[in-house]
Structure formats: structure tokens, C-alpha cells
């Protein structure tokens, strides 16, 4: 079998997910040996930005017309488009909702000079193009990335867990921060894959991997309210990583 042609691209983001690829120090030379990497601008100068691709990994959020153009172009060129990282999958931190509008923020930051920049409301990739596989995480987990590469080399798409962080948290037998310590933990509605890293360090889950399918956000809100958290705290925590979770909407249902 010929090596799959692969592109690794970043839209607007912290480059953490591309860095996770580079952080596979032990496997990196095997990975690049098994793939025909056509573009990886964070690590490689030579880049073919016109060729057709078998697989493209895209990191980051769409926050400006330039990002969207690039994304559309990648979609046209690639057989499989894989969103890597919570920014690409859910919108991530740039899509964090708060009381300011995009224009207001731009004004605040740049003053009148801000008018020269075009920005759009930050959105995940799936708001613009079909995404064939989503690997979420802020940043993505190395194991999931390697698993994905192995499956893709086999011609298959990896099957990533759909259950919640709590499941992994309990599998590791960590003390429950929500139930036993009354902390604001988003583990029950956040998708697993991190092996409950934060609870393992005694830190509540802040939801960096995005929600599980069918997340019961309204019940989570009820639970947190019962624990005595204010509406502002709950709201803030819920809208940190995911553009589509709007607690206000959920609350009004």
C-alpha cells in the first residue's frame, strides 16, 4: 500500500495539537516514515499546498475569513478531514461566550485601529465543512492521536470513547471531587479520553475535551446548584470550551 498523503494545518489556535504530534518523540520518526507528509508548516519548510491529500489534520478555530478560506480549500483537497483539538471540534477558548460582542471586544483591544481587521464569530470546523473525524482535547491526547494514525494506516477510522470523564475517573478509583468534596467538576458531562487527568491531580474537570454526546447539561446544572455554586460560576465553567453550550438557553428550557 502506498503511503497516505497527509497535511497538517493549523487555523487560529495555540498550536498545542500540532505540538502533541511533535511531542510523540519516540514515535515521530516512525510516523513520518509511514506517512507522506505534504505539509506541516510548524515543522517543515517545504510544503505542497495544492496537492490532493488522503488525510488532513486541522487544528484551531475559524475566527477570520482567512481561516475559513483555508478550511474550504483543505476540504476540497482532502479525502478525510480530521479536526484535532477542542478548538477545531468545539470552538474552544476563542469561542468562549461572554457579555461582549466580537466588535466590542475588537474595539476594546485595538481601539479605532481594529477596524482594519476582519474577524468573525469563532466557530468550530463543522460549522463550515463536513468533518470526518473529531479528536477533541485541549490539547489532544497522544495515545488517541497514535491510535488514530494506526487505524488510518489500516484504512479504518479509530473508535474513540463516547462516555464521560467520570467513567475513567472511577476506573482509576480517584476520590470524587464533586460528590465528596463539593467541587465544581464537569466530569459527568465531559467526554473521556484523558484518563481523568485533572481529578487524578485533585483538580476538578474543567471540560477541556468538550461534552459527551447527549450531555445532560440541565441535570449537571441542578447538581451544581444543589452543591451551592452560584449561577455565574456554573455558567462560566460551562461556556469555557464549547461554543454550542449556552447555559442560558438550557436554563430557560
Amino acid at each position: 500500500m502506498s503511503k497516505p498523503k497527509v497535511g497538517i494545518y493549523g487555523l487560529t489556535g495555540c498550536a498545542g495539537d500540532q505540538l502533541v504530534i511533535l511531542n510523540c518523540e519516540d514515535e515521530l520518526l516512525n510516523i513520518v516514515g509511514a506517512l507522506d507528509i505534504k505539509s506541516f508548516s510548524m515543522a517543515v519548510s517545504e510544503s505542497d499546498d495544492d496537492c490532493l491529500l488522503d488525510i488532513v489534520f486541522v487544528e484551531g478555530t475559524v475566527v477570520q475569513p482567512r481561516d475559513e478560506e483555508m478550511l474550504q480549500n483543505l476540504r476540497e483537497r482532502a479525502k478525510l478531514l480530521i479536526a484535532i483539538g477542542t478548538c477545531a471540534v468545539w470552538g474552544g477558548l476563542p469561542a468562549m461566550k461572554n457579555e461582549f460582542s466580537q466588535e466590542e471586544i475588537k474595539k476594546k483591544v485595538y481601539g479605532p485601529a481594529g477596524d482594519i481587521f476582519k474577524t468573525t464569530a469563532p466557530q468550530p470546523l463543522s460549522s463550515f465543512v463536513k468533518v470526518d473525524l473529531s479528536i477533541s482535547g485541549c490539547p489532544i491526547e497522544k495515545e488517541q492521536l497514535l491510535q488514530a494514525v494506526a487505524s488510518l494506516l489500516h484504512g479504518d477510522l479509530p473508535r474513540l470513547p463516547g462516555y464521560a470523564v467520570c467513567t475513567e475517573c472511577k476506573m482509576s478509583e480517584y476520590t470524587c471531587l464533586l460528590v465528596e468534596k463539593g467541587q465544581l467538576c464537569l466530569g459527568p458531562i465531559t467526554v473521556a479520553g484523558c484518563k481523568a487527568r485533572c481529578p487524578g491531580y485533585g483538580q476538578p474537570c474543567i471540560g477541556c475535551r468538550g461534552p459527551v454526546e447527549e450531555a445532560n447539561v440541565s441535570s449537571e446544572i441542578e447538581v451544581l446548584k444543589e452543591k451551592g455554586f452560584t449561577w455565574v460560576d456554573i455558567q462560566n465553567r460551562l461556556r469555557t470550551f464549547v461554543a454550542s453550550i449556552d447555559p442560558l438557553q438550557i436554563e430557560s428550557v
Partner: protein, 286 residues
């Protein structure tokens, strides 16, 4: 103590046996019939099974899935699986090169109670991929023809292009020892189709069955079950003379993983063949 004392003697039920795909016969789009030869490392053992049983098939690196055995145990040495391409494992199966190795465990499940069926009329009602397990029973009865009274097959597909085992079944039309009724849901202008048109239940008008010495075996999509059952009940079939093959999510095939549990029955151990009476007593059923 209730530990298992002699575990060193137990066979690990989870490790597949190596098997080789010896032929692939394309059926209709996204459906292929795989002929598979199973090699047992410990020689001398033959792979025997009953119609209606299934195997767990593994494709290396992708996973495992259950498939009904589509061939008749009267044909020794190989098994045939009729597979629809729908997800990870089936997709990988379709990508395999010719003569590839796969893993097989089984046979599992109860299968059809053929001894009980002997001496009776048999009415087989299939829709779509439901033909896969019923084909095993069909050929089993035809190969043991003297043990059964009348054998009737009703099989419906959406259109002629969706009919599994079409030529094999068309060839049965000439036989006198089996009544083969084929139908398609809607007539497609372009296709040549001389047989019946209409949903599978409309075929009941062409047969006259005595429910008292007949067993019905039904297999097909959920929607079909309901209508066929109505028809059978209308004809006074006893609920325990209606046999059906059920599909559930399965991860082990041996009654451990829990996925196929319906109420307190394991589809993989107690099924996949259930009588209608059994099924009524299970929650979440038809």
C-alpha cells in the same frame, strides 16, 4: 468456594481460530457472501453447527462482529457468511485481499430447534438480510427433505436489485419439493421481474397452511416482523410455533459482556432464535 477450580482445563472462549476466506461472492451492492474455511489448530475437530447459529468474526486490527451462518451444516468443511457493509468491521472485511486470514469463534447461539421441526410443515418468511440465517435452515431442510412435510419460502426485497441469493432462489422455482415465493416491494420499470410484486405479507394469499402442524421461521427488519406476526396470528399460529431471529449489540457472543441482554435472556446464549411467546415475555420487545 465457588471459584472455578479446574480453570487450567478451561478453554479461553475469547480467542478466535484462524480461518481463511476462500471465496467471495458479491451479491447485491454492499453485500457479499464470504466462503470461509476454518482451521482448527488441534486437528481432528470439525466445525459443526445448527442452522440459525452465528459466529464471531474478527478482522485483525479492527475488531469483531457477529454473523449468522448462511450455509447449511450439511455442507461440511466451509461456512458461508452473507455480510452487509455497514461499519468498521464489515468495511474492513470488504477491504481484505483475496484469501485473507480472519478469526472465527463459535458457533454460538441456540439455532433453530431442527429436531422439533421435523415432521412438520415449514414456513420460512424472510425480508432483506433476514434471508442470511434462513438460507441455512432452507438448505438444511432441502438436504434432509424426507424429514419435513411441506416447505414454503416467502422472501421479499425492495426491488430485484436488492434480492440476495437471487439466482439460487430463482432456480428453486422449478423444484416441486419446495414452494418458493419471491416478491419485490415495488416494480422497477427498467427491471425484468416476472414474479410477484408487493410487500412480503401479500404472499400469504398464495398459500394454504395448517397452523397445527406448521412451524414458521421469521427473519427480517423490525418493521417486517410486526406485519408478518399479525398475519400469522390471524391464521391461528400458536405463539410458540413462530420462531424469530433477533439482532442485538454483541461484544462477546458467550453470555458475558451483557450487551445483548433482553430482560434476563442473553440473545447470544438463549437466542438468537426465540419463539414469539418468549419474545412477548421479554421487555423492550416488538
Amino acid at each position: 468456594m465457588s471459584k472455578h477450580e479446574n480453570c487450567s482445563d478451561c478453554q479461553n472462549p475469547y480467542t478466535p481460530h484462524p480461518a481463511r476466506i476462500i471465496r467471495i461472492l458479491p451479491q447485491i451492492p454492499d453485500h457479499q457472501l464470504f466462503q470461509i474455511h476454518i482451521r482448527f489448530e488441534d486437528q481432528g475437530k470439525v466445525f459443526t453447527y445448527r442452522p440459525g447459529q452465528f459466529v464471531m468474526l474478527s478482522v485483525i486490527g479492527v475488531g469483531e462482529a457477529p454473523f449468522s451462518i448462511s450455509s447449511s451444516p450439511t455442507h461440511e468443511g466451509i461456512i458461508e457468511l452473507c455480510v452487509r457493509r455497514i461499519g468498521h468491521v464489515t468495511d474492513a472485511l470488504f477491504r481484505l485481499p483475496p484469501k485473507a486470514m480472519v478469526g472465527i469463534r463459535g458457533p454460538y447461539g441456540n439455532g433453530f430447534p431442527v429436531e422439533k421441526l421435523e415432521g412438520n410443515n415449514l414456513l420460512l418468511v424472510a425480508g432483506g438480510l433476514g434471508m442470511a440465517p434462513l438460507r441455512s435452515l432452507l438448505w438444511y431442510t432441502l438436504d434432509n427433505r424426507s424429514k419435513f412435510k411441506d416447505v414454503i419460502l416467502m422472501y421479499g426485497a425492495k426491488n430485484p436489485g436488492d434480492m440476495l441469493f437471487k439466482y439460487e432462489l430463482l432456480s428453486l422455482l422449478d423444484r416441486t419439493d419446495v414452494k418458493c415465493l419471491l416478491t419485490i416491494d415495488k416494480k422497477d420499470e427498467s427491471a425484468i421481474w416476472k414474479a410477484h410484486v408487493g410487500v412480503v405479507t401479500t404472499l400469504f394469499d398464495f398459500v394454504d397452511i395448517d397452523p397445527n402442524d406448521t412451524y414458521a421461521a421469521v427473519c427480517g427488519p423490525e418493521v417486517m416482523f410486526k406485519f408478518v406476526l399479525d398475519e400469522l396470528l390471524k391464521r391461528n399460529f400458536a405463539k410458540d410455533r413462530i420462531l424469530m431471529s433477533l439482532e442485538r449489540n454483541m461484544h462477546c457472543g458467550v453470555g458475558k459482556c451483557g450487551h445483548c441482554m433482553i430482560g434476563y435472556k442473553y440473545t447470544c446464549l438463549d437466542g438468537p432464535i426465540f419463539t414469539y411467546w418468549d419474545a412477548i415475555n421479554l421487555p423492550e420487545m416488538v
